[in-house]
């Protein structure tokens, strides 16, 4: 099997497992909706123009939903020693990393795709714009890239689910800042040139952290 087909095999495994149970999906979707609604109410009470806080609310929702997904994805591997099985398979450890990362990316993007129309309705904004979709994609790659590595660490600790946000949130802060600013700029109708530096920033973050995660993943899963 080529490297790519090994990676895709892992992605396929995750997708099929999720399609059968829809367990992660349903909980993530419900959670995301609840978060949006709660934010909608809590800000509505004090804020004049709710569109002002919309980018922030959107990205906080995505961050929380991503954390749920990342936790779940690795936790599933720990059940029945699936991860050990993967480690024994004749493939480079990095293929496991990329496989899990792509799987996480697909799941998070799918949830985001479902959240966006609902968000648009609740906040009365048009969120289905190409530049915005690009921003969301880049931000999600950032979450999934370093999140896959950190979830592999977190799932091996005593605190499990609680550990991932503790580890992840300070690291992805630049992503949240960049994505929120870019989203705000797009919703305000700024020309792409004005927010391009944020998008370039996201691309740089994504690339660098994909590389760092790929290089250190082996050390995390080896024992």
């Amino acid at each position: 099997m080529s490297y790519l087909s090994k990676v895709l095999a892992i992605v396929w495994k995750d997708v099929v497992a999720e399609l059968r149970t829809k367990e992660m999906f349903s909980s993530m979707l419900v959670f995301a909706l609840l978060v949006i609604v709660i934010f909608n109410f809590s800000f509505d009470l004090r804020v004049e123009n709710i569109a002002q806080v919309a980018p922030g609310v959107l990205w906080v929702t995505f961050a929380f939903a991503s954390t749920l997904e990342l936790n779940r994805s690795l936790a599933l591997e720990m059940e029945n020693d699936c991860l050990d099985g993967l480690l024994l398979a004749p493939m480079d450890r990095s293929a496991i990393y990329f496989g899990k990362m792509l799987g996480n990316l697909i799941f998070i993007c799918t949830i985001e795709a479902l959240i966006l129309p609902i968000f648009s309705v609740l906040f009365d904004l048009n969120l289905i714009q190409p530049s915005l979709l690009l921003t969301i994609f880049l931000g999600t790659v950032g979450f999934a890239g370093v999140g896959t590595l950190l979830s592999a660490i977190a799932v091996n600790t005593r605190a499990r689910e609680v550990m991932l946000p503790v580890l992840l949130f300070p690291i992805i802060l630049p992503v949240v800042i960049a994505a929120t600013k870019a989203t705000g700029g797009i919703l305000d109708g700024l020309p792409l040139g004005d927010i391009a530096h944020w998008l370039r920033f996201l691309v740089a973050f994504d690339i660098i952290f994909l590389v760092v995660s790929y290089m250190t993943f082996d050390f995390v899963v080896q024992g």
């Binding site: 580890l167 995390v220 024992g223």
Partner: protein, 232 residues
């Protein structure tokens, strides 16, 4: 063992001396700043603390990489020592920064005017996450491995955080910056000496803490031998 003891002793005297000199320079030698008055003197130790915070983080990065490459426990002890000391200095930087902010803008936490305060706080949070991670992992070797990886990831994130926080408010020169450019010679000398004094202090504390770490390891080893010797 006795050789490195001498280095630590020497450094202890050196840092004690340099801090005393630095204190003299800061409070007596350095001229009073025109607009801010005596409050400005906090600047010397504030920046030095932040500098040590970043230096300590860098040392943790190096130690982490070295550990992953060789598996030598000594690097892990160094990494942890550096984090513990770095967290202290970073906390000092945040507190002095807040005090300065209150004196300058009459706000304990001016999000708008001072993004650097946010950055140093995030550094503090990263340190805390590192320590929390270490506390919750089972097994010495595993703890060292995970901590090393997180140390690397955390350090790499710092430049990104720095840039994004800076661009966030889209502001650059603040009182702080222009002060950096227009320091009177006496102030510059005081500032540089404070940096030096704090750096020496950092290394002193680091070596002492590392020695403690090694001793703790030895104690654990002895306990283990006692236990297996008597047990059964």
């Amino acid at each position: 063992m006795s050789r490195s003891f001498r280095i630590e002793d020497l450094l202890t005297w050196l840092s004690g001396l340099s801090i005393i000199v630095a204190l003299y320079l800061v409070f007596v030698y350095a001229p009073t700043e025109a607009t801010m008055g005596h409050v400005q003197r906090i600047f010397y130790f504030h920046v030095s603390s932040a500098w040590v915070g970043f230096l300590a983080f860098f040392v943790t990065l190096i130690a982490g990489v070295a550990y992953l490459r060789g598996g030598n426990r000594a690097w892990d002890i160094l990494a942890l020592s550096s984090v513990e000391i770095g967290i202290t200095f970073t906390a000092m930087a945040v507190i002095t920064g807040s005090i300065w902010a209150k004196a300058t803008w009459n706000a304990w936490w001016p999000w708008q005017q001072e993004p650097r305060l946010v950055l140093v706080t995030i550094l503090l949070l990263l340190y805390l996450s590192y320590l929390v991670l270490r506390a919750f992992v089972e097994g010495e070797e595993r703890t060292a491995r995970f901590a090393a990886v997180y140390g690397i990831v955390a350090f790499v994130s710092v430049p990104f955080t720095f840039m994004s926080v800076r661009w966030w408010q889209r502001l650059h020169p603040v009182i702080f910056e222009s002060e950096g450019m227009h320091l009177a010679p006496a102030m510059l000398a005081t500032f540089l000496f404070s940096l030096l004094a704090f750096t020496i202090l950092y290394f002193t504390l680091l070596l002492h803490r590392r020695r403690l770490g090694k001793l703790a390891d030895q104690v654990d080893g002895l306990k283990e031998r006692l236990r297996t010797g008597e047990g059964g």
